[in-house]
């Protein structure tokens, strides 16, 4: 294999020319003869090209004027309509486009039609010369020698140690980018506060929902009562607590043992946060009883406790146990019995501690 590593451009390695030799190949005829353009021979054509370039530059001036007129003549006051904004946007863009394309096409046309179009051949030079390499090696050797780093291992080793440790503070200052997760992901706002069960409320206005409001075939987007009154971390709580409430024929629900009383007369509530990567699973098909996530198409079957029947999710949606309070309003009897949303490393640990 040995000898094709000197890297000079014209060297023939064994690979490329195997099976051919110079005699069998066509010889390079060289750069084709130059062909004159119309503008090179006909002064009229040259004059015409010159005028065309000037017209293109003129168009650019027109474009600039259009832009300035559109900018100053159209005022975006408080009562400006969408149509005004659209008009201004279109004119600003059109003006800019004319201004830019006029200059661009003008210059290019000038270059193509009037500047010399002789193709030139330039020699390539080696990227590295052997002399340079030798000189560089010599210099580096001298530098290393002068520092004496080879002779003084104590200096070398302490320096390496210091440099290795120096970035640690830089890493440490990133330690407070965020708080520790602890078990924040395991709990939502649905947990009863002071023994008072949370009512289910309409999203976005926050009015509580009566069981009798939920007719068969309907779907309610639900937030916990009191969410809208939060100020700190409202969206954080909402991101975990949103629920989809549906009512179907109780006979078509098939609750597993222990979950029979999590619904109420065919009314069931499931977390809206997809167990895949957390998009809201909000598409409810009231005839097939399928829930579909619009982001990655995970499909959940409501009649099988939201088991995954299609798509990338792997876990059923968590169900929120609900009941009816004295005034007929729907309430959550407890928090979710498992962490909602996408899976994370400590999820199973959290689920076990919720249920213990």
């Amino acid at each position: 294999m040995g000898n094709h590593s000197d890297g000079s451009p014209n060297h023939s390695g064994t690979v490329a020319t195997a099976g051919q030799n110079e005699v069998e190949k066509f010889q390079d005829p060289g750069i084709p003869p130059h062909r004159l353009r119309l503008a090179d021979t006909d002064p009229k054509a040259a004059k015409r090209a010159e005028r065309q370039v000037a017209v293109l530059f003129g168009t650019s001036v027109v474009g600039t004027v259009i832009f300035l007129v559109a900018y100053f003549a159209i005022d975006l006051g408080d009562d400006s309509t969408i149509a005004t904004i659209r008009l201004q946007n279109a004119l600003l863009g059109l003006g800019t486009a004319f201004a830019m394309l006029g200059i661009g096409t003008g210059i290019v046309h000038w270059a193509k039609a009037l500047m010399p179009d002789h193709e030139v051949s330039e020699e390539r030079h080696a990227i590295r010369y052997e002399d340079d390499r030798k000189a560089a090696v010599r210099i580096v050797d001298d530098i290393v020698e002068e520092t004496g780093i080879k002779r003084r291992p104590l200096i070398r080793n302490t320096l390496l140690g210091a440099v290795a440790l120096a970035p640690l503070p830089a890493l440490a200052v990133f330690g407070d980018l965020g708080p520790r997760p602890d078990d924040k992901l395991a709990h939502t706002m649905w947990a009863p506060t002071d023994g008072k069960l949370k009512r289910l409320a309409r999203d976005p206005d926050g009015t509580p929902i009566k069981a009798s409001d939920v007719t068969i075939g309907s779907a309610f987007h639900v937030i916990p009562e009191g969410l809208n009154e939060l100020h700190e971390g409202k969206l954080n709580e909402k991101a975990k607590a949103v629920v989809l409430l549906m009512r179907l024929d109780p006979a078509s629900l098939n609750p597993s043992p222990g979950r029979e009383n999590w619904g109420y007369n065919g009314i069931v509530a499931y977390s809206k946060i997809c167990t895949h990567v957390g998009c809201p699973v909000a598409l409810y098909e009231q005839q097939t009883h399928h829930l579909l996530c619009p982001c990655h198409q995970s499909t959940f079957d409501l009649t099988k406790e939201c088991k995954v029947i299609f798509g990338p999710a792997s876990r059923p949606l968590p169900q929120l146990p609900i009941a009816v309070d004295d005034e007929g309003y729907l309430v959550a009897t407890s928090d979710f019995k498992e962490p909602v949303g996408p899976s994370y490393w400590e999820r199973d640990e959290h689920e076990r501690s919720i249920n213990s």
């Binding site: 007719t215 068969i216 549906m246 007369n265």
Partner: protein, 262 residues
Amino acid sequence: MKALSQKRRHPLAAIALLLMGLLLTGGLYAVATTVNEAKASTADFTASDTEEGQKLFEANCATCHGMGAGGTQDGPSLVGVGAAAVDFQVGTGRMPMQMNGPQAYKKPAQFNEQQTHQLSAYVASLGPGPAIPEAGVLDEQGDAAKGGELFRTNCAMCHNAAAAGGALTRGKFAPALADVSGKHIYEAMVTGPQNMPVFSDSNITPEGKRDIVTFLKQIESTGSPGGADLGALGPVSEGLFVWIAGLGVIIAFTIWLTSRTS
């Protein structure tokens, strides 16, 4: 008698009784709540409307929905669906269906306004259900911003935030809402056609529905301030556009730029 009393003591009897009770209460609930909404459903229908409607129904709809609209294997019962359901399904041409499929498609209506009115009258007479909305809630003078919020929470996941439509499972889809009349949008919300959930007045108030219709009509009529909306389909159409049109024009320029002038 003896056999009956023995069956009564059967261990499953209690469960059967419970189930019957639940079904009864559930059914009553359903009826009770729909009755709430059935206001004015027979108000402007005359007896002759109902009579004519019945004839039309028997000639055009009974094959699938059964005589007396009791439903068959091919079509559901229409007792209690209300005039709004008929006005929506027939008025948008979805019914009569061309063929059985995952979903009924919108197509030119087969019946004229009067016939649709008569059919609605007949179905409304079979049992109380959601009525055709009154003009007051369709005046498009509601609060567009509130409507937008309601639309994004309740509708956008299927119909797209700009109401451009979207896909459902197995060939079904939520249609685009441009060019759909406010009345039909309203009726779809109260009746929940096909796989669309029902948005009864206890879920979204009539005022809220009015806001939603206002919002939809407003964004439809103003159009996009930025120019052509590329179907309002979001980044996919934008990406296609930049690859095909954007790069296409740029490539045309590069070819011109590097070609030789004659």
